[in-house]
């Protein structure tokens, strides 16, 4: 069959105009060559990367860094890392508010943030708005730049692809783009208008997974949200895992490896490491505990006591679990997740 002649308009020989519609600040450098330099120098050695949460947070997350959390706010969040960041009093962090709910709430309780790419912030979905998160933005203490979930996800994707931007068809025509840092540009082939969104290369990210070997080869069950791109976009990556498995188990099912070891800097085994968020096929969200958080926020004294009990007086994630019903509670959440609580 003869090739069908494709008639498309190439705008390459015309003057192309870019329009900087987004007037807010871009917090990270989108330059792909700068990123290549960094990744060029990043070790590919397949060595034992197991450590402790305390060590990893101290070594890989620095004051002023731009940080991103994996998962979806109240699902598969790296809770143990977030609590340790608060304990270590990390300051002036940038944050990717991509579907962020309880993860952001923890970091704001610790006064860790001063700037934020905002796609979804301050709310806990149907559970209501977080008072302290609202205050962080309403007081102007945290500087925001607006995005949508897709454009922020595609910013990770652009970085994961080793690019400096991607074109997108959403946000055009709205205040969301006006308060972003996007640029309008014509497609070089069709002349049609796109929102160009800059690549987002976070300094550091933390992702909680179901299984990892000691090198950082990871398996995730259920939805990936944006974590596959985030893992590739982040310059440094901390993995907490429900379970460390043998490398031969990874090799038995290579199709299940969604994050390869060469992206990973640290691996820590943290059972129930996403608690109080939902870990697919393991344990459901502790809805009562999330409601306790929202309630405690309404009173400064109550919040202080609450944070002492759940974060500052805890040495590690085991202490936090213990403070909230320990294994008995974890088992209830397991039956909720598996629906075996219904008879």
């Amino acid at each position: 069959m003869a090739n069908k002649k494709v008639d498309f308009h190439v705008t390459g020989d015309q003057d192309v105009t870019y329009k900087k519609v987004g007037k807010r600040r871009l917090f990270t450098n989108p330059d792909a060559d700068e990123a290549r330099e960094f990744f060029h120098a990043k070790s590919r050695r397949m060595v034992d990367k197991t450590t402790t949460v305390k060590e990893a947070v101290s070594k890989y997350i620095h004051d002023g860094d731009y940080f991103a959390a994996g998962g979806f706010g109240s699902n598969r969040i790296p809770a143990a890392v977030l609590h340790e960041m608060v304990r270590q009093k990390k300051k002036n962090l940038g944050f990717s508010g991509h579907t962020s709910t309880h993860d952001m709430q923890i970091l704001i309780a610790g006064n860790c943030l001063d700037r934020c790419d905002a796609a979804y912030i301050v709310g806990l979905e149907a559970r209501g708005l977080s008072k302290i998160s609202r205050k962080g933005f309403e007081s102007g203490a945290i500087e925001a730049t607006e995005w949508s979930n897709a454009t922020l996800a595609w910013r990770y994707k652009a970085a994961a692809m080793g690019l400096s931007f991607l074109p997108a068809r959403s946000t055009l025509g709205t205040d969301t783009i006006e308060y972003s840092a996007s640029v309008e540009m014509p497609c070089p082939f069709t002349g049609k208008k796109y929102a160009a969104v800059p690549a987002l290369y976070p300094d550091v990210a933390a992702i909680h997974v179901h299984r990892s070997d000691i090198y950082g080869n990871c398996q995730i069950q259920g939805i990936a949200v944006s974590d596959l791109d985030l893992a590739r976009a982040a310059k440094r990556l901390i993995i907490t895992t429900e379970q460390i498995i043998h490398n031969e188990d990874i090799r038995r099912a290579p199709h299940s490896t969604v994050i390869p070891y060469y992206l990973v800097d640290a691996v820590i085994e943290v059972p129930y490491g996403a608690y109080p968020s939902n870990m697919a096929y393991e344990y459901f969200t502790d809805e009562d505990h999330l409601m306790e958080w929202l309630k405690a926020e309404k009173d400064e004294e109550e919040l202080k006591k609450f944070l002492d009990k759940n974060i500052y007086n805890c040495e590690n994630h085991w202490d936090y679990l213990e403070a909230n019903g320990g294994m008995e509670r974890m088992n209830q959440l397991r039956t909720q997740e598996n629906l075996t609580d219904r008879r």
């Binding site: 998962g71 979806f72 706010g73 109240s74 699902n75 508010g97 579907t99 709910t101 905002a118 796609a119 979804y120 912030i121 301050v122 709310g123 979905e125 149907a126 708005l129 609202r134 933005f137 309403e138 007081s139 102007g140 607006e146 995005w147 949508s148 979930n149 897709a150 454009t151 996800a153 595609w154 997108a168 068809r169 959403s170 946000t171 055009l172 025509g173 709205t174 205040d175 969301t176 308060y179 309008e184 049609k192 208008k193 796109y194 929102a195 259920g222 939805i223 990936a224 949200v225 944006s226 974590d227 596959l228 791109d229 939902n278 697919a280 096929y281 459901f284 969200t285 997740e337 629906l339």
Partner: protein, 256 residues
């Protein structure tokens, strides 16, 4: 005919706009209930998707989060947020439902803030996936109570696009042609959009509601469809399925 509350009526009406073999991206709450009811009544092959990556679950109960494991319980696919959003961008998602603090006569929605941007009086979550879904899905719907503060042209911030400033404005802005707001289902009426002006118009009035009530509860001038009909109330079958199968714990319909 059984009695019903406002929430039950809105969910039943919304469910009737979802066609069989269609695809819908929903959040939690009333939209999810409407999609589940549609599946169990007139649209058994409606494909339900969640923006965090869940596709085609056999929902055992109402999800609490759009990313919780219920959203892909016995599902067809558990994938990623970019995958769902790119499916919308490719033009394969027919319907979506949005919420918001304010909506204007062109169906533009504010879910970002009230006040000024730097130090807002109230900061809301922002777009989340709403802007993307409103930009990229074919038909956008909303289930919302109707009052003067919510239905206003004095909209503080356009988070998600309706028809922007009128006919042709979406396309001019660069949004994919042929999509936009479709139906707004409130506790008083079902509102559509006039084809010529893209302004909101009253199409159905709920039983017992007057035109004056609708006007009083809207902050801008509404248009009226040539033929304004009365909304058909929930059938016994719809109510039975909604109450016994979709939301037996009354999480959503209890708010009516």
């Amino acid at each position: 005919m059984s009695s019903y509350n406002g929430m039950e009526l809105m969910i039943c009406l919304a469910s009737r706009y979802l066609e069989d073999d269609g695809t819908v991206v929903v959040g939690t709450g009333a939209p999810c209930a409407a999609a589940m009811l549609a599946q169990k009544t007139r649209a058994p092959k409606l494909m339900i998707m969640f923006e965090a990556g869940g596709v085609g679950p056999l929902l055992p109960s109402m999800p609490i989060s759009v990313g919780d494991s219920r959203t892909y319980y016995k599902g067809l696919v558990s994938t990623s947020m970019p995958e769902i959003m790119e499916t919308c961008q490719r033009g394969m998602v027919d319907y979506t439902f949005l919420g918001g603090a304010q909506i204007d006569m062109y169906g533009n929605i504010n879910s970002t803030h009230i006040g000024d941007y730097e130090t807002p009086k109230v900061r809301f979550p922002g777009s989340g996936g709403a802007n993307d879904l409103a930009s990229l899905c074919w038909r956008t719907m909303m289930i919302t109570p109707q009052d003067k503060n919510r239905f206003t042209n004095d909209i503080n911030f356009i988070t998600s696009p309706g028809y922007l400033t009128g006919k042709g404005a979406r396309e001019k802005a660069g949004l994919p042609p042929g999509c936009g707001p479709y139906k707004i289902i409130t506790d008083l009426a079902v509102l559509g959009f006039d084809e010529e002006t893209c302004r909101m118009q009253v199409e159905l009035i709920h039983p017992g509601v007057t035109r004056e009530q609708i006007i009083e509860n809207t902050g801008f001038e509404l248009l009226w469809a040539d033929e304004v009909l009365e909304s058909a109330p929930p059938s016994d079958v719809e109510l039975e399925i909604l109450r016994n199968e979709v939301d037996p714990r009354r999480y959503i319909i209890g708010r009516g």
